[in-house]
Structures are given as structure tokens and as C-alpha cells.
């Protein structure tokens, strides 16, 4: 079955873990034993049955009533698997949130309609990060309708706020809003009697519909896509001596066979493939995008981890200067930190020689903020020109996303993510 990854976003206490847990229960995706364990713990601590405990398995998470770290759980619905990724809503835990969000194709954003809760600045930050990570569709679930008198007005208000924000940041993303009560299991899989005014689909029906829209979107690119797929881009993970030189790599695009002529960067060499094998015993019907390869060449090369193998007709950029969009979670002071900054690009640490901030914007207001060129504020998105210590092969994120993205560390501290423009 095809799997889709969905990150669950939203503020602390707006009900993400409860929603996920009730989806697991309602779709029969969890064993009775696991539910009973939670029942027993809830009883012992004399609280109401707390479905969120199914995901919040740490004792600290249960006693503090919050998700600390990301959890994944699978549910099946109409012949697809949906991997739902719960992430902490709390500001200080943003790096755990990013770990959960980075490989998701869709997002479910939970916003509580309860008085005093609603669409918060922190929620905007989560949404912004998810869109930066390439989430292609978002379901906005307006939660706790049971605690707001199943009010249509409360739903519409949040719906307008959130959909307008998404449109402002990225108009190409498909977003749909639906009203639910996660705790009462209303409108999750089947529709609710209490939300009769809503004639839209339930949450799972909506997700299922969006899944198809993601697929058709990928097909829309036609000739360009075909041309792009013909390009060979293999990232070298490791090279070993194994009865001669053998390179292990991951093919992000294209395919190679024996006797094919290929090129390698940064070595700038040309070689002929002597043998190549994919780890997959059975090639499935084009479902997998990436392949692990073991390759031998007609002669000994200076090939190493981080190199890119490519075809004879198109080449990746090979440069030390590039422009990037960066989302910083911590403050970076370029006048003091420059020597400590490293980016992880194509699985390798690269040191930075120079960096100039061109533009900055706040994900919370969606507005430009003033640039003090040597400083990057925490939780801002900047455009910057970066100069590395030496040249490396790379691609634009918009063309080959796997080869055009990087992580930013200051010392050992994770400080942000970047995309090559």
C-alpha cells in the first residue's frame, strides 16, 4: 500500500494528540491492549480517559499534559496508509517539531475554536515551517466545536483567518478547513449530527481527496518532468574497497546501466560503468522514487562521500557561491559566529567563508522586517548569499530538492534549515 506522511500541527492544548489517538481508535489501527493500558493509567491518576496518552507515552508527557517529542503512528483508510506524525506544539520544542515535519507531504493543522484559544502566532510559525519543508496540502481542522456550542460562526472565523494566512505565504498550496470535535470523535471518519450545518467531508474523506490532488499535481509537469527524469543524479554515500573500488550511492534521479558513460563532481572525471546493482530484488511499479546503488567503474577514481555522479548532457551547479532561503530557529550573529557556522549539504559538513543577509521576513506577520546585515533573528526567514570554503556540486531546491537543501549548525547547535535558490 502507498504511504503518505502527514504532520499534525498546532498549538499546545489545541488537541493534536487527542485527535490522533481518536483517529487510531476509530480506524481500528491500534490494539485493545494499548488502549487498555491507557485506560488503566487514566483510572489510576483519577482523570477522565485520556486518549492522548496513547501517543504521549513518556511519564513526563502524561503528568504535564503535553507532547514533548514527536511520535509516528500509521492508520489505513481506503487502501492507503497514512503515517500521522504528532509533534510538540510548544515553542521551545521547535526542533522536535521540525524533525517530525521534514518529510511530510501533507499537514493537518489543529486550531481550537474554544474561547481564548483560536489561531495563535505560534500556529503561524508551525504552518510557515511546514510550507518551507514542502508540504503540498493542508487540512485545517477547527477543533473543540463541542466546547464552543457547535457554532458555525466560530468555525467560519478561524477558517477565514487561517486560509488567508496560507494564501499570503504560499498561494499554490491547497488548503481546506473542516469543523471537528476530536475528543467526541465527531467528523473524524464519519460525519457528526451536531455539525449538521457543515455539508463538507469528514477529516479522513478530506485527506483522501487531497491525496489524489497531490498525485495529479505531480503529473502536470509533462515534458519538463520527463526531461528532468532523464538526468542522472546519484549522491555518493560511501566508497569501499570490496574486491576493487565500489561506490555506494543513492539515485535521486535517472538510472544507469552497464557500459553507460557518466561524470563525477568535484573530481570532474568521466568513467564507464562496469557494473551496477540496486538493492531492491524486485523492482516495483515505479512506486519508489529513490534507489540504493552499488557501482563499479572501468577504472580507479578519486570518488568519495558527498560527490555527485551525473550524466553526459546536464550537470549540477559546481560552485562555492550561492543564494539561499534560510529559516533560523536560533539567533545567528555573523560577525561573531561565522567561523563556527557549518552547513550540512549533501550529507557533508561544509564550512562557510562568508554570508550576507539580503532580506528578512517574519513568519508571524508575513511582513518584511528590517535587516541588520550581520544578524539573523531567531524564528525569521532570510534570503542570504553564502560563500563556502571551496566549490561543491549542488542543485536548486526547486529542481532537485534532495540536492538543494541544507541544515545550518552553529557549533553543535542546530540553528536552521536552508534551500538553494
Amino acid at each position: 500500500m502507498k504511504k503518505y506522511r502527514i504532520v499534525m500541527l498546532g498549538e499546545k492544548d489545541h488537541g493534536k494528540s487527542t485527535l490522533l489517538a481518536n483517529l487510531l481508535i476509530a480506524s481500528n489501527s491500534i490494539s485493545d491492549e494499548r488502549i487498555n493500558e491507557v485506560r488503566a493509567v487514566s483510572k489510576k491518576s483519577k482523570t477522565r480517559f485520556e486518549p492522548a496518552y496513547i501517543l504521549d507515552a513518556f511519564s513526563e508527557e502524561r503528568s504535564r499534559g503535553m507532547t514533548i517529542d514527536t511520535t509516528r503512528a500509521d492508520i489505513t483508510y481506503k487502501n492507503s496508509i497514512y503515517e500521522l506524525i504528532d509533534v510538540p506544539g510548544h515553542l521551545e520544542l521547535i526542533k522536535n517539531m521540525m524533525t517530525g515535519a521534514s518529510d511530510s507531504e501533507m499537514a493537518v493543522l489543529v486550531v481550537s475554536a474554544k474561547k481564548g484559544e483560536g489561531f495563535k502566532p505560534e500556529t503561524k510559525r508551525h504552518l510557515f515551517i511546514a510550507m518551507m519543508f514542502n508540504v503540498k496540502a493542508i487540512v485545517v481542522v477547527v477543533n473543540k466545536l463541542d466546547e464552543s456550542g457547535y457554532s458555525r460562526k466560530a468555525f467560519e472565523k478561524i477558517k477565514d483567518q487561517v486560509l488567508n494566512y496560507i494564501k499570503e505565504i504560499n498561494p499554490r498550496i491547497t488548503a481546506i478547513a473542516i469543523p471537528i470535535s476530536a475528543y467526541n470523535n465527531e467528523n473524524l471518519i464519519s460525519k457528526s449530527e451536531n455539525i449538521k450545518w457543515n455539508n463538507g467531508k469528514s477529516l479522513m474523506e478530506t485527506i483522501n481527496g487531497l491525496k489524489n490532488s497531490i498525485k495529479s499535481d505531480a503529473k502536470n509537469n509533462g515534458a519538463y518532468k520527463k526531461e528532468k527524469e532523464a538526468r542522472i543524479r546519484i549522491l555518493v554515500q560511501d566508497v569501499m574497497q570490496h574486491s576493487g573500488q565500489m561506490a555506494f550511492g543513492i539515485a535521486y534521479s535517472g538510472s544507469i546501466k552497464k557500459k553507460d558513460r557518466i561524470r563525477i563532481l568535484p573530481e570532474n572525471a568521466t568513467a564507464v560503468i562496469k557494473s551496477v546493482s540496486s538493492t531492491n530484488a524486485q523492482e516495483s511499479s515505479g512506486m519508489q522514487k529513490i534507489k540504493n546503488l552499488s557501482i563499479r567503474f572501468d577504472r580507479k577514481l578519486g570518488i568519495k562521500r558527498g560527490d555527485i555522479i551525473y550524466d553526459m548532457h546536464s550537470a549540477p551547479a559546481y560552485t562555492r557561491k550561492f543564494r539561499a532561503e534560510i529559516f533560523a530557529i536560533n539567533a545567528v550573529d555573523l560577525s561573531k559566529d561565522l567561523e563556527k557556522i557549518r552547513i550540512v549539504l549533501n550529507n557533508n559538513d561544509r564550512n562557510i567563508k562568508g554570508m550576507k543577509v539580503l532580506r528578512a521576513m517574519s513568519p508571524i506577520t508575513g511582513k518584511k522586517i528590517s535587516v541588520i546585515s550581520k544578524k539573523i533573528k531567531p524564528n525569521t526567514c532570510v534570503d542570504a548569499d553564502i560563500i563556502l570554503n571551496s566549490a561543491y556540486p549542488m542543485e536548486k531546491f526547486s529542481v532537485f530538492e534532495n540536492l538543494g537543501r541544507f541544515l545550518v549548525f552553529v557549533g553543535n547547535r542546530f540553528s536552521g534549515i536552508g534551500k538553494i535558490k
Partner: protein, 262 residues
């Protein structure tokens, strides 16, 4: 039980194993001769063109089943494994927390110290336990094997942090995403040999294998891999139902894991 796409699972596992071997200079794999860690041995062979290029460790408390020892020796020979058998002593009462916690972990610490391993491939799966679902693919342990689960490393865009504090190591979890049924589907597809205790004998079989003291068999007539897969498609019980150490009290798994248990 949800059946996932085996090629996707295999791709990710091979990628993780190759990353671990490239980034960590001295790694080993833990092998309990169970279905999960045996599957991982075969994934390692896939990653490195038919070889397991680093040591394979069995922490042997001396009370595994005879079938398990026989299976170990047979497969180690067949796959030409560099097998390290570490005998662990059983000092206190044998069950759950004190057995797996004190005995096996102590022995593992000794080996890591002696050989200087900075990476250890461990065959845990997210679907086994709520706590294991919180794990990273590459998870840091300090010199005392403590898991700082409140401050885990980021894992973004298939990039994994592998530096540790002094004398710490990285636990590598290549099959974290796999479900029990995926393991069996893969064993079937790849024709991976299994410990015979998994197959039904006189109406009972082992669904999860530990040592003789803390594992019990379950009722089952499944005596082929196909039967096991069929059985799992409809089961309502948990895989580790026959494991004592998961059950002693709440959060026991969290405590065990934070102390270094697998």
C-alpha cells in the same frame, strides 16, 4: 496489521546502514537471533554487496533456548560473520528489570568499552512499544548508556547527527519504521532463515523471542511463514504479550530504555 511497501522500507534501512557505516568509524550490530535482528543482518548484506563488514555481537546470558544457539552457529558460519559472543552473568533474581537492565546492559557496556565501538545497530521497531515510537533513527547514548530522551537530536531531510559526548555511542535503528508483519513479508520475499521456535509445535509458537526465563509462547497453529502472515493480518493482541519485562509496571520500558536497554 498494516502492511507497508517493502521496497520503500528496504531503501530507507539500507540508506541508514550506509550512513551509519560512513559516518561512524567503528560500528557493530547486535544480534539476538530473533526475526528482527536476523532481518537486519540481511539488510546489511544488501547494503554492502553481500558482506557484513563489521562485528556481530550476541550478548549471551546462557539461558537462551537450545534452538537459538544452534541457529546462531549455523547462520554465523553460512554468512561468514565476525561474531562476538559476550557471556553475561546473571547476578540477581532473573526477570524483567534486573535481568535485561542489569545483566545484559552491563555486558554490553564492557564490550563497547573494550572495542571502542561508537555505533551500534539495534533492531527495534516503532510498533513494538509506545516508548520505542519516540526513538530517532540514530539516537545518542552517553558513556553510562543513558538516553537523554528530553533532548534528542534533530533528524531533518535524512540527515543524522552522529557526534556524541566523550565515550558515548549512537544507536542506529534501521527498521524503526517496520511493522511486525513487514518483517515476515520481507523474510518471505528474501528467503531469510529463521529460528524454528517461531513456527508452531503442538499448537504453540513464539511470537517474540527472548531468553528462556522471560519469554512465553502463544497459542498458534502457524507452522509456515505464510501462516504467520495470515495470522498477523487478523490478530488483536500485542506482539510482546509474552514478554515479562514490558509489564512489570507503568513506564518500565521508559526506565529500561533510559538506562540503555534495547
Amino acid at each position: 496489521m498494516i502492511q507497508q511497501n517493502l521496497n520503500e522500507l528496504e531503501n530507507k534501512a539500507v540508506y541508514l546502514i550506509r550512513e551509519a557505516n560512513a559516518k561512524l568509524n567503528n560500528i557493530a550490530v547486535l544480534w539476538s537471533m530473533g526475526k528482527d535482528s536476523t532481518t537486519v543482518l540481511y539488510l546489511i548484506r544488501k547494503a554492502f554487496a553481500g558482506k557484513v563488514p563489521f562485528p556481530v555481537i550476541h550478548i549471551d546470558n546462557g539461558i537462551d533456548f537450545p534452538e537459538t544457539y544452534e541457529f546462531r552457529d549455523r547462520l554465523a558460519k553460512k554468512l561468514n560473520l565476525n561474531l562476538i559472543v559476550a557471556k553475561s552473568e546473571i547476578k540477581r533474581e532473573i526477570s524483567g528489570f534486573s535481568c535485561c537492565g542489569a545483566n545484559k546492559t552491563v555486558e554490553l557496556k564492557k564490550i563497547l568499552n573494550d572495542k571502542g565501538f561508537n555505533g551500534l545497530i539495534v533492531s527495534i521497531r516503532r510498533d513494538e512499544h509506545g516508548i520505542r515510537a519516540k526513538e530517532r533513527y540514530m539516537s545518542e547514548r552517553d558513556k553510562d548508556f543513558k538516553w537523554d530522551y528530553k533532548n534528542q537530536n534533530t533528524e531533518i531531510w535524512n540527515n543524522y547527527v552522529t557526534n556524541t559526548k566523550k565515550d558515548g555511542h549512537i544507536r542506529v535503528h534501521p527498521i524503526l519504521d517496520w511493522n511486525e508483519i513487514d518483517i515476515w513479508n520481507y523474510i518471505k520475499r528474501e528467503k531469510i532463515p529463521i529460528n524454528p521456535l517461531y513456527l508452531s509445535k503442538e499448537g504453540r509458537r513464539f511470537r517474540s523471542l527472548g531468553c528462556t526465563h522471560c519469554t512465553t509462547s502463544v497459542k498458534s497453529n502457524a507452522n509456515t511463514i505464510e501462516d504467520i502472515i495470515k495470522e498477523l493480518k487478523t490478530t488483536k493482541t500485542e506482539e510482546r504479550g509474552g514478554r515479562q519485562q514490558d509489564k512489570e509496571k507503568e513506564y518500565i520500558m521508559q526506565k529500561l530504555r533510559s538506562l540503555g536497554y534495547m
